[in-house]
Symmetry: C2
Subunit: 408 residues, 2 copies
């Protein structure tokens, strides 16, 4: 990536962090009178598990019927590449450009905050653009103006010193899998409402206009059912699917384990069981506040005789952008020109931790110009990126950059 950027007349370097390094590159030839655009992307990817569900090798990209398949094709390498390809097409860059490409987005960007804090002047810009979100269809672009935050924890319940024989001890000891199940059922009530005391205390109330706009967003029950192959949609009854996805906090079990999970029977009572639990946050919740409330609650509901270990694995803050800026208007125009349709403004359910950090440390808004399609299978086996969306992405980025010529 460093090489590719150098070939485009960028000064590109690999800068260390406490974890995976950052790729930084800049081309400031447009000069001080032109705006500076910070393009953010990430080169790390999610684990490809379960491997046996992939049709082709996740790390050997394969093109099949108009899509490129492989881990990271959509999230985020393919999308990031729309910017590099766009720059390649432009003879003389009308704006200054900086690239910030990190390697820890999928594990919560844990060392990026410190990197940004230590490189404030290097990263100074007028706006950040990020292509790590999706269009609704091949013809309906979306601009994301808000993202949920994240508080991701791990819990372990231990009741025994070792796995024991279920015949000898069954009926006489606390089973950690049963204890874990009890705890999990106490996270949410029958209406999918999170039961952690104070969980909703700081949730921003949406304006009527915002709810009306969100309800227009064509991400409804049908879309969820098609994209997930679920039989039913399930969530808080008081809110429509669109609002639940972007503007309501939630809690999910991302994984559970304990005891024997291989083939056939094994007659043990496990010594311990665990779960990964993630909470999606909305303004004005903070990850610190929610972790604290979560930890206090889980401690309270863990029964006597069970040892509890909790760990914070990842966090990111929720964010809302100011959509009235010239940069949002420029993105809107570029999308309209290439896609033939005005983009829809949306609140996104996922998290891009860097957006909150850039806002907090550099007071920088981010324009989220995504080109994935909803069925691209991010984080799932057979992740793909559509070649036609790749081309539209490049064209949109070119329009966007060219139109900023007079932005300053």
């Amino acid at each position: 990536m460093q090489k590719k950027l150098k070939s485009l007349d960028f000064e590109a370097k690999i800068l260390p962090t406490a974890g995976h390094p950052v790729v930084y590159a800049e081309n400031l030839e447009a000069g001080k009178n032109k705006p500076t655009i910070l393009i953010y992307g990430h080169y790390d990817v999610q684990s490809p598990d379960p491997l046996d569900e992939w049709t082709s090798d996740p790390f050997k990209p394969e093109i099949r019927s108009g899509n490129i398949y492989g881990r990271g094709t959509a999230d985020d390498k393919g999308q990031l590449y729309t910017w590099i390809a766009a720059i390649k097409e432009i003879d003389k860059l009308p704006v200054n450009i900086k690239f910030l490409i990190e390697g820890e987005e999928e594990i919560g960007s844990k060392n990026l905050d410190e990197f940004i804090e230590q490189n404030k002047s290097l990263l100074e810009a007028d706006i950040c653009v990020i292509s790590d979100s999706h269009c609704l269809t091949e013809t309906q672009p979306v601009i994301v103006y808000g993202l949920r935050g994240l508080a991701y924890a791990q819990i372990k319940i231990k009741t025994l010193g070792r796995d024991v024989h279920s015949g000898t001890y069954g009926g006489n000891v606390l089973n950690p899998a049963n204890v874990l199940a009890q705890i999990i059922t106490r996270f949410k009530d029958g209406n999918h409402h999170v039961l952690i005391p104070g969980f909703y205390d700081n949730v921003r109330k949406l304006s009527t206009k915002e709810i009306t706009d969100l309800e227009k967003f064509p991400f409804g029950e049908k879309q969820v059912l098609v994209e997930t192959a679920a039989e039913t949609v399930a969530g808080e009854k008081a809110f429509p699917v669109q609002v639940r996805a972007g503007a309501r906090p939630t809690l999910d079990v991302n994984g559970i384990w304990g005891g024997y999970a291989g083939e056939g029977p094994k007659t043990i009572i496990p010594a311990e069981a665990g779960a990964k639990i993630s909470m999606r946050l909305v303004p004005n919740q903070t990850s610190e506040e929610i972790f604290t409330k979560f930890e206090k609650y889980i401690k309270k509901i863990t029964p006597k005789g069970a040892e509890l270990v909790t760990e914070r694995l990842s966090e990111g803050e929720p964010i809302l952008m100011d959509t009235s800026s010239i940069y949002f208007k420029a993105a809107e125009k570029a999308y309209k020109k290439v896609f033939g349709k005005k983009p829809i403004y949306a609140l996104e359910g996922g998290s891009i931790p860097v957006t909150a950090t850039l806002k907090n440390i550099l007071n920088l808004d981010s324009v989220l110009m995504g080109y994935e399609l909803p069925d691209d299978g991010l984080h799932s086996p057979n992740e793909k990126f559509s070649l036609s969306m790749f081309k539209k992405g490049i064209a949109t980025n070119i329009e966007f950059l060219k139109s900023l010529d007079k932005a300053r």
Copy 2:
């Protein structure tokens, strides 16, 4: 094993089944006027998982401070070997001896019933002896006269077509881990009472004498705590620990899985989650009855939108022996001579499926003369067998066999 038995003047053969073969051996030189003893054992072992908790290789036996460590040292190879070693010590066998050594005990002896059915005359005997149970201490032997049965099932809950991004879909779809947790919590109430309708319908009521005898059995709260390193004992309040262990049915989660269980965070909602569930049965419950009730109940409590797949993995029937026979008396005498103490009669919490089959097909009682110690760690990492118990076992078996000279 076949070779070893041949060297002791046994006719030994390996006989096929639909699964792992059976080792059969006989020495009938004592003649028709002498009783025939069928010695049962098993050469298969439990999975050694988790491997990283073993101090030495589970399949390279190692002797450390008076114990031999390795998978199967106690359950059941070491114990079975007390009989082979005893026979080696006896010049002229006073009784006829047949060995039935199977390879599928740990997976429910699933092909043994058919083998016994097809080899009735080959296996004809006066009594069966089995060393696959434990003494209470190095000086207190135990004769087991009843065993719990087993109904071991697997359930899978599927709510999505694939793992999906928890940011995009969190708050809008049914999470199979949450559904599974709900189901698990509905198996038992706060008093550890199984909630499957009709579960206790056929449970034999114990006589007052039996309860009094069981309460004398020194397997109490303290023993459970020491052996399992649990902080509290947990079970049905109305019954003491001893009764719960041997004479009450129970239900346990042997394993749970679903979603991401690796290092760090992965922001998915799993497509499916599963659990292994085993129920320990007592007379006069049957595995067929309990499986049917279990399957009906779980189907009823699985919510709309979740697909349920259940599978029966293993079963065995509960059994009670007639302790008044000459063979039980002979075992009692042999134990007393070697250990210096009368054995305690006990009901065992585990299952040895062959005992019920021998009773049903050949009308054969089994004398369970076990030599494990409670801390041998059956089915656990670092399974061991005490060398002094090995020697006492051999001596007891010699006494037992010699005393049967005039049994017929």
